[in-house]
């Protein structure tokens, strides 16, 4: 079954799906593991594992710092992949995706990276700085390997652009809820509702909405408008402030 089909199946029993995010090696792989366990046990559907990069241009201060600290800890790409493999084995109920920037993929070897991603049981990849124009071979190889290359819609996308971009995507579309970088609060107002209607018209793929989604109220507002809510910075902040043990209750409280 493709990722899209898997997500559709889950949507038969859930009003909205959840995707969470964490930066590998921040604050440590041990904490990562505990956070993932709590997320998995509380019904998270997808998890993005971000391989840290020294130049994370699309990320806000919290995730940027997490990237930087992880690298200062000496995190390597190879360690990230080994860890990811263990997680996929241990938590088969979760769909895992790699999130990173293109240089990490490029330096590993695009084809080799995607083959490895497939082999360890991951379902897709999210690359923050690879527009479809530059990612032709990446999209083709992903499709060939039955991996989902995730594409982005943004509030600055025209309807035509959305339709174009959607052609290159599989799995779901990552709809960025507002302009700017990760981690700032988004007001889920009428504008977002209109934007999500546009997104819905532009593609048959499920819609995941992220950037500034931080609590149950946000998730509730997205129900009926989107298929998956993406919680990124909020859990990193939570772990920073209260430790990994706080994650389970937080996740459980996001959906009724």
């Amino acid at each position: 079954m493709t990722l899209q089909q898997e997500l559709r199946k889950r949507l038969e029993h859930k009003s909205i799906l959840l995707m969470t995010h964490l930066v590998l090696g921040y604050p440590s792989f041990e904490v990562n593991k505990e956070v993932i366990r709590q997320m998995a046990e509380n019904g998270v559907d997808c998890i993005e594992l971000q391989i840290p990069f020294s130049e994370p241009i699309a990320d806000g201060p919290v995730i940027s710092k997490a990237n930087q600290k992880s690298l200062q800890n000496g995190t390597t790409v190879r360690e990230c992949i080994l860890f990811a493999e263990q997680m996929a084995v241990e938590f088969p109920q979760v769909h895992f995706l790699f999130m990173t920037y293109y240089n990490i993929v490029y330096k590993y070897g695009e084809r080799a990276f995607l083959e490895k991603t497939k082999k360890i049981g991951f379902t897709g990849t999210i690359i923050g700085d690879l527009p479809p124009e530059e990612g032709q071979s990446y999209v083709a190889a992903s499709r060939e390997l039955d991996l989902a290359p995730i594409v982005f819609f943004t509030p600055t996308s025209t309807f035509e652009r959305m339709q174009d971009v959607a052609k290159y995507g599989e799995g779901f579309v990552y709809c960025v809820a507002r302009k700017g970088v990760t981690g700032k609060q988004t007001a889920l107002d009428e504008h977002v509702a209109v934007y999500l209607e546009q997104c819905r018209k532009a593609t048959d793929l499920p819609l995941a909405v992220g950037f500034g989604i931080s609590g149950a109220a946000d998730v509730q507002k997205l129900q009926g408008r989107a298929d998956m809510a993406v919680i990124g910075t909020a859990t990193i902040r939570l772990v920073d402030e209260k430790g990994p043990s706080a994650v389970g209750a937080f996740i459980a409280g996001l959906r009724d």
Binding site: E55, I57, A58, G60, V77, K107, E134, K179
Partner: protein
Amino acid sequence: MTGVNSFSRYRELLLKSLKEKVVDTMKKGYFGQWGGAYIPEVLHATFVELNKAYDLARTDKKFWQEYVDFMQNYSCRPTPLTYAENLSDHLGGARIYIKREDLNHTGAHKANNVMGQGLLVKRMGKKRVIAETGAGQHGVATATMAAKFGFECTIYMGEEDVLRQRPNVFWMEKLGATVVPVTDGSRTLKDAMNEAFRDWVSSMDTTHYVIGTVCGPHPFPEMVAWFQSIIGIEAREQILKQFGKLPSRVYACVGGGSNAMGIFQGFLQDEGVELVGVEAGGKGLETGMHASRMVGGKSQPGVAQGYKTMFLQSDEGQMLDTHSIAAGLDYVGVSPILVDLGEKGRVRFESATDEAVLEALSLSMRTEGIIPALESSHGFVQAIKEAPKMQRDEAIIINMSGRGDKDIFTIAHAYDDPSWKEFIIQRAEEYKNRV
């Protein structure tokens, strides 16, 4: 200079040579396999708009005319080509000419690009500009442009650089800009660039990001090279008039590569003219403390900050810290156009150590009374090395991208000058006592 008509004539030649030799048959924004536009999707519409504005401006003769007129009135263009007679006699060999970009308003070639982009911003109807800066030259130039054109202005500068380059921060603020110290990463130029991108992804409706060099996503490398081509257009005409024939070699320092691209474009189609780019050798290539991407074999192809080029990075793709005595050359990447020209054998790359730079700077000051910036002094190093081995009937040009006297803090520090240090200590005491 015979004035404006000559610009459009050379411009056509240039575009032709750029098309044939640089732009290649590759997709838009690529130079050989280098360049591209690796941007977050949220910036797609902004780049569509910018490409449109740039294409319109590029094909509009009136725009170039407006640009040249403005630069003549506001920034002392055409800048002179000075025959360095004493230095030439001292060294023997080739006759050395110096292209005086130091005489631009704000003291460096940076003004060429910034004022050009300023005119473009006016056309696009945007009201705010942002920029990254390392040493602060590009920041000061952008703040100046913003003041002149009435734009709001925010400059991102690594925290390290804010501390090292206080005088430039002072000027930016006095010119009305907001200077934001960047605390991420290595807190230098590349981190300032990342932060400027982060501003831009939320402010693009009203804001233009004035990238300071021939790097970043398309159309920046090509567009900045276009504005800087004014250097080469002038220099070619000037050397023909003064020396009667083309130079054998043209030297320029290479950080991102904007001054080098500027002067090189004037001679791209002249196959007999060798183009030499000089990178920051820092404390020596073997120490790892340098910013040499094209020589030394330490860099690798990569994609970051929106474009594909040779980066100083780890095998896994994490960017490395760089070092140079000249903050303006202290950068992990290099222009995709220059990498392509290097691969095609059109540009030769060399590197100069911090130590050699100070020697060359001293020689230039003593023999010619000319104070090149530490960045520009890199070009002097290589020219001084090679000139004596050349013939008296040959000429070479050094592009003096900026002036050094306004960087008195940096240069005095680099020379470790005792009386300067004493002065600073005294001044500090005075301020302390007043507080």
